[in-house]
């Protein structure tokens, strides 16, 4: 009601103000006429009487203005008038409007595009009721080294401890873990992504099934399927509830179909099946996979986040962890919005904050640019402004009008910016820049763009408005708007210096990151990923013991080796570049300095692995067929791990300890990249012989001869696996080079954005220099003309222009260089192999900026040199 009522009141006000205007006119006219009549009666000549009466009455418009002010609520009428005026002004000066709106569009577009990404990656809530009450639980752990890390995956026993102790703050604490299931249907065994969940999973999320009913706490014999799977695999058959499906050789009845669009708690890892964890624990084999759980809870009604946070922290400290080598320091709650949790969220957040910061710099440059343009135009509008003031417009009124014009510009630019952002998101999607991240702009993005636009309007509009509306009526009217005045000149110089400073900042940062990216890319993969196909099989669900498992894998290798086009075959516990968690490792030298390395990637491989993926050995030897069960345990480490555990010493021959075992290092391999999300230094990495340490889940690494089609080999592998055991599913099969191309993704993304923004920034500031200089020359052309006419040589005229520009440039560049050094110092941990002060980068950024400034000033300076005194002075 209030909104509609308010609208009606305002409409009435507008109508009544029209009535009031009419009344005012009539009253004033009456007054003047009576005054004339009076004077005529007194014997004055009618024409003279009218003149006297008008003088006596005074400025009609001024009186009206005072009364309009007195009437109150006039802002709406004023505002509409201002908008109308602004539209007229914008339409009149189309070139200016287009240029300014385009510059704003670039700034707003860049920032909005990045925000679209931030929104998709960090902010978008889960599509469930009241998602803001959901929190993920993250433990903070201290490894054996004094390094802390976040643990989002917790053992099941710890989940139970948390669940039982937090009933007072959570309406429910649920646990889930994404796993791959082998789904057997219609004679085909395929791998599907599923989740093992606690019984209260759906209850905590408050999701309701599209069909059937979700399982509850006491149920262990049930499976829920996703809506997509229901449609694709079961033809949207309404009778699917009650049907039995085979998962990992276990028969489970379908009890429900999830609602459309629900893909689990992580949009990045969409899930098609939900199985109660109790079922998995009962079924042999799934137990160990189920042991690491991801926890999330829904706050009870009225419970503040801080209280729940404090409680989980207290519980974390009380319940002893079951890994001896790490210590739980505490726990905290974390938003469930976006795609990442724990350390990854922090890392990605920082990365995106940096990109957003760079975009904001572009926007600032754009604002400074448009502010400079407006301030220059303000000078040519001094006459108009002076006239307005002379007939009674107050300064506040003028500022409001000028700001309305800015707001209109910002709005046009902002709309353009949204289009640019959308186009950017579209092309990013087309280029598969962000993989499965859904970067479609939503309402939040639009709101952001709108807020940004309003801020922008004030940012670029306020200073010029203050400047233009400065009261100097007489001076402006007298000199015919010729002189710019030194103060507004200074203002424009500040805008130019600011742009240059921001641009050089962007350039330096872009340079640093591109440089660092190149260095990081040069830390080559450390192996040859081209022409390698991977495929993973897990024997756990089928309940194989070690002997049967080893037999399976050697038969598998033999079968695949026989496929046409296969050069060599190897087994490793994980696919290279797949994400895997690491363990602590320490050296075992007694009496010496004890050293630890946490988060070391550990992979069990067979003897053919190093040669198959072409990972070079830099010291010692690879695994041989003598490294078997009875022989002494051995390990191979990479260069980084060797350096960190035994600095300055030979690693080969030393012993390492991990997971309660001691091994002798027999070889060192070249550093490489093992996880495509890694940032910065190469991680520690260790290899153990499969023959000594069995794992039931292994990944085939198959090197193909050139011109062999990976798809054929994948088909061949599936065939071999099916012939060995039809209930074993082949997971994640495909070429290894695909994830390898996504290696260094964060750095690549960062360099890409920074380079793009750096270029846009330099372009904008070049435009700023050009515009300001052109304007100066145009304004001073009369002065130049006089000086030339009086005999001043052309170059003295030019040097007076150039001197000032150069001074502004030097100041701007200086500030920018200092600021960029500060920014680089903050961001140093994202840099790899590049110092904070990189002389090459600084030098090239300065040179680029100088070149752009020179090019931008070329045309105006030439114009200044060609000033023809006759033309200029005659124009007066």
């Amino acid at each position: 009601m209030s909104w509609v009522g308010g609208l009606r009141a305002r409409a009435w006000l507008l109508l009544s103000s029209r009535k009031a205007e009419a009344r005012m006119d009539e009253e004033f006219r009456f007054h003047v006429e009576m005054e004339i009549q009076k004077r005529v009666r007194e014997g004055t000549d009618p024409a003279e009487a009218r003149r006297q009466a008008m003088i006596a009455f005074g400025g009609v418009e001024r009186h009206k203005e005072m009364m309009r002010d007195g009437r109150g609520g006039r802002w709406l009428g004023d505002f509409l008038r201002d908008v109308r005026f602004a539209i007229r002004a914008a339409a009149k000066d189309r070139g200016f409007t287009f240029m300014a709106a385009l510059i704003i569009a670039v700034g707003v577009g860049a920032t909005t595009a990045v925000f679209t990404l931030v929104n998709a990656v960090l902010l978008r809530p889960l599509p469930v009721p009241t998602p803001e009450r959901l929190y993920a639980l993250t433990e903070s752990r201290v490894g054996a080294v004094a390094q802390s890390y976040d643990g989002t995956a917790l053992p099941y026993a710890r989940y139970v401890a948390y669940r039982d102790a937090t009933g007072s703050v959570f309406s429910g604490l649920a646990a889930q873990r994404a796993v791959s299931f082998a789904l057997r249907a219609g004679g085909q065994t395929t791998s599907v992504r599923g989740a093992l969940t606690s019984g209260n999973y759906f209850g905590v999320l408050q999701v309701h099934p599209a069909l059937g009913r979700f399982f509850t706490d006491d149920e262990d014999d049930a499976v829920v399927i996703s809506n997509a799977m229901w449609r694709d695999r079961f033809g949207a058959d309404p009778g699917v509830v009650g049907r039995t499906i085979w998962l990992d050789g276990l028969a489970l009845p379908v009890v429900a179909v999830a609602p459309p669009g629900f893909v689990g708690t992580n949009p990045m890892q969409r899930v098609d099946l939900w199985v109660p964890i109790v079922a998995a624990r009962r079924a042999q084999g799934l137990t160990s996979m189920a042991s690491w759980m991801f926890l999330f809870g829904r706050l009870g009604p009225g419970v503040p986040e801080a209280r729940a946070d404090a409680l989980v922290d207290a519980v974390a400290k009380r319940v002893p962890p079951n890994e001896p080598q790490s210590r739980v320091r505490g726990a905290r709650l974390e938003s469930m919005n976006g795609l990442f949790r724990g350390d990854a969220r922090t890392m990605v957040g920082k990365l995106l904050a940096m990109i957003l910061g760079a975009a904001a710099l572009v926007l600032l440059i754009a604002c400074a640019n448009v502010a400079g343009m407006l301030s220059a135009r303000g000078v040519s509008r001094r006459r108009e402004v002076a006239i307005r003031r002379a007939i009674g417009a107050g300064r506040g009124r003028l500022i409001r009008q000028l700001l309305t014009e800015s707001a209109l510009l910002a709005l046009i630019g902002g709309a353009g910016g949204v289009l640019i952002a959308e186009a950017g998101a579209g092309s990013a999607k087309a280029a598969d820049l962000f993989g499965t991240v859904d970067v479609t702009p939503d309402l939040r993005v639009l709101g952001f763009a709108l807020a940004l636009t309003s801020v922008t309007a004030v940012l670029f509009g306020l200073l010029p408005a203050l400047q233009t509306s400065r009261p100097d009526v007489v001076g402006s009217l007298k000199d015919g708007g010729w002189r710019g005045g030194t103060r507004s000149g200074t203002g424009r110089s500040v805008f130019v210096a600011g742009q240059l400073a921001l641009a050089i900042c962007l350039l330096v940062l872009a340079g640093l990151f591109v440089h660092s990216f190149q260095r990081a890319s040069n830390v080559a993969l450390g192996y040859d990923s081209d022409g390698v196909v991977v495929a993973t099989t897990d024997l756990g669900p089928r309940g194989y013991d070690e002997a049967r498992g080893r037999a399976f894998y050697s038969a598998l290798e033999e079968g695949v080796r026989a496929l046409p086009g296969v050069e060599s075959v190897a087994l490793a516990q994980y696919a290279l570049l797949g994400a895997y968690s690491g363990n602590d490792m320490r050296n075992t030298e007694s009496g010496g300095d004890e050293r630890y390395e946490s988060g070391v990637g550990q992979v069990r491989v067979d003897t053919a692995f190093l040669s198959t993926v072409r990972m070079p050995i830099v010291a010692g030897r690879g695994f041989t067929k003598d490294d078997v069960g009875g022989a002494p345990l051995v390990a191979i480490v990479n260069e980084s791990l060797a350096r960190r555990l035994w600095p300055g010493q030979r690693a080969v021959g030393k012993s390492v300890r991990t997971m309660g075992k001691e091994m002798r290092v027999v070889g060192v391999v070249r550093d490489g990249r093992y996880d495509f999300r890694a940032i910065g230094l190469p991680a520690g990495f260790a290899l153990f012989p499969f023959a000594q340490q069995y794992a039931r889940e292994m990944t085939l690494h198959v090197r193909l001869y050139p011109h062999t089609r990976p798809a054929e080999i994948v088909r061949g592998i599936r065939g071999v696996v099916r012939s060995l055991d039809p209930d074993v599913a082949v997971q994640d099969a495909g070429p290894l080079s695909v994830p390898a191309s996504r290696l260094l993704e964060p750095q690549r993304l960062l360099s890409l954005f920074l380079t793009l923004f750096g270029l846009v920034g330099i372009l904008l500031s070049g435009l700023g220099v050009f515009g300001t200089l052109s304007f100066q020359v145009a304004q001073r052309s009369r002065e130049f003309g006089i000086r030339v006419a009086l005999g001043a040589p052309g170059h003295s005229v030019v040097s007076s222009v150039v001197r000032r520009t150069a001074a502004v440039g030097v100041i701007g560049a200086g500030i920018g260089l200092v600021a960029s050094a500060g920014a680089a110092a903050v961001l140093h941990r994202f840099l790899y192999g590049v110092g904070v002060v990189d002389p090459l980068t600084l030098l090239s950024a300065t040179l680029i900026l100088l070149a752009v400034a020179l090019i931008a000033s070329f045309v105006p300076v030439r114009r200044a040199m060609r000033v023809d005194p006759v033309v200029v002075l005659r124009a007066e």
Binding site: M24, M66, M67, G70
Partner: protein
């Protein structure tokens, strides 16, 4: 007294003068200004720039009302008249003005 200072002195008391004038009979704007000039023997000359805003202000405060009417020459004009609360306000205003004038006089007549 220069016209400028006269106008300043008037500004504070314009409300009072308007109310007083309207207490005699309803009147249009021009008539009010003529009446004040006439009653003050041409000493006080009301500027339209302060008269009309004052009328607007007083009307908004509910001390006077206005309506369209015709003059004796059959011309349409806006006539202002005092309301009951305007009449009360006038009494108070006169009272406070007298107090003020007496006080001022006392100060000025000190030898």
């Amino acid at each position: 007294m220069s016209p400028q200072t006269q106008a300043d002195a008037l500004r504070g008391s314009i409300d009072l003068l308007v109310l007083k004038t309207l207490s005699l009979e309803p009147m249009h704007g021009w008539g009010i200004s003529q009446r004040i000039q006439q009653l003050s023997s041409d000493v006080l000359e009301v500027n339209q720039g302060s008269l009309y805003p004052a009328l607007q202000r007083l009307e908004k405060a509910g001390l006077i009302t206005s309506r369209w009417d015709t003059t004796e020459n059959n011309r349409r004009a806006r006539y202002y008249s005092l309301t009951a609360s305007g009449r009360r306000a006038l009494g108070e205003e006169i009272e406070s003005w007298r107090r003020f004038a007496t006080a001022l006089e006392a100060v000025l007549s000190t030898p």
